[in-house]
Amino acid sequence: MEIGLNHYLVLSTILFAIGLVGVMRRKNLLMLFFATEILLNSVNISFAAISHYYGDLTGQMFAFFVIAIAASEVAVGLGLLIVWHKKHNNIDLDSMSTMRG
């Protein structure tokens, strides 16, 4: 059986849905970061698949930039998380409601 573009897109959708569930139900901020990594990776798969099946390199370029952005997001996010943990001694999302209107 031939593997087509749709196979990869459906796989990417399933992974994206898993990441979405993780973003919605996690309370711990570190776990929330893990879920966002899953989201970014699922998009990368569909970029690479489209790049392969259309014979175009733009998809792979976008995947590279997504990886670069994910790396810098992790660096800054973890730094902020460490600062928050030093101050409040927990990293639960519910404790970050001071800006609620």
Partner: protein, 192 residues
């Protein structure tokens, strides 16, 4: 044939690993499951002929990002069980609706994009890494440089945020102030 076997095998492995990463209540299990899932995803890139992207995926995600998370977890108390949000029916309903729309849109996308032509077609007789270099350093040179600056900014931000006493500047302080600071540190250590 082999492509199909590899695709289904790695699809099953990736989905199960990410499912574990999302549902488990232990932070360490989630971290290791996520690292395994990242490596399995690079297999898809190798199947699709994007060799350089696969290597970058392994180096950056499993090497750098996962190591960063592992170091970050040393700061947090990861041994206790993670509390979860109580099940909310509205969230479940909204999630399933969003997922359904997503499936329809993604499966319909190739039909809509049937007449798309390759903007930067692959060069005959060149390896994937060579092609990537040719496109990256001509058409995408400016975004590449901007990404480099962004990574530098992120690195400095990480150092300043996670380091100790980064809000003080030793070069701007006088000798007396520095000596006073050292004395205070000694007193704190003696007290604790």
């Amino acid at each position: 044939m082999f492509e199909a076997i590899a695709f289904y095998l790695f699809a099953f492995l990736t989905i199960s690993m990410f499912y574990i990463a999302v549902t488990t209540s232990q932070a360490l299990y989630a971290l290791s499951a996520l690292a395994a899932g990242m490596i399995f995803i690079s297999a898809f890139f190798f199947i699709l002929g994007a060799d350089f992207l696969g290597a970058v995926q392994i180096v950056v995600y499993s090497g750098a990002v996962m190591a960063l998370y592992a170091f970050g977890m040393m700061f947090f108390d990861t041994t206790r069980e993670i509390k979860e949000k109580q099940g909310n029916k509205a969230i479940v309903l909204g999630l399933s609706i969003i997922s359904a729309i997503l499936v329809v849109a993604i499966v319909a996308a190739p039909i809509v994009g049937n007449n798309i032509e390759a903007l930067y077609p692959m060069v005959e007789g060149a390896g994937n890494t060579q092609e990537v270099g040719m496109v990256l350093f001509t058409k995408y040179l400016v975004p590449f440089e901007v990404a480099a600056v962004m990574l530098l900014v992120a690195m400095i931000a990480g150092i300043v945020l996670a380091g100790k006493k980064m809000d003080l500047s030793l070069t701007l302080m006088s000798e007396a102030e520095i000596m006073m600071m050292k004395e205070e540190d000694k007193n704190k250590k003696a007290l604790s």
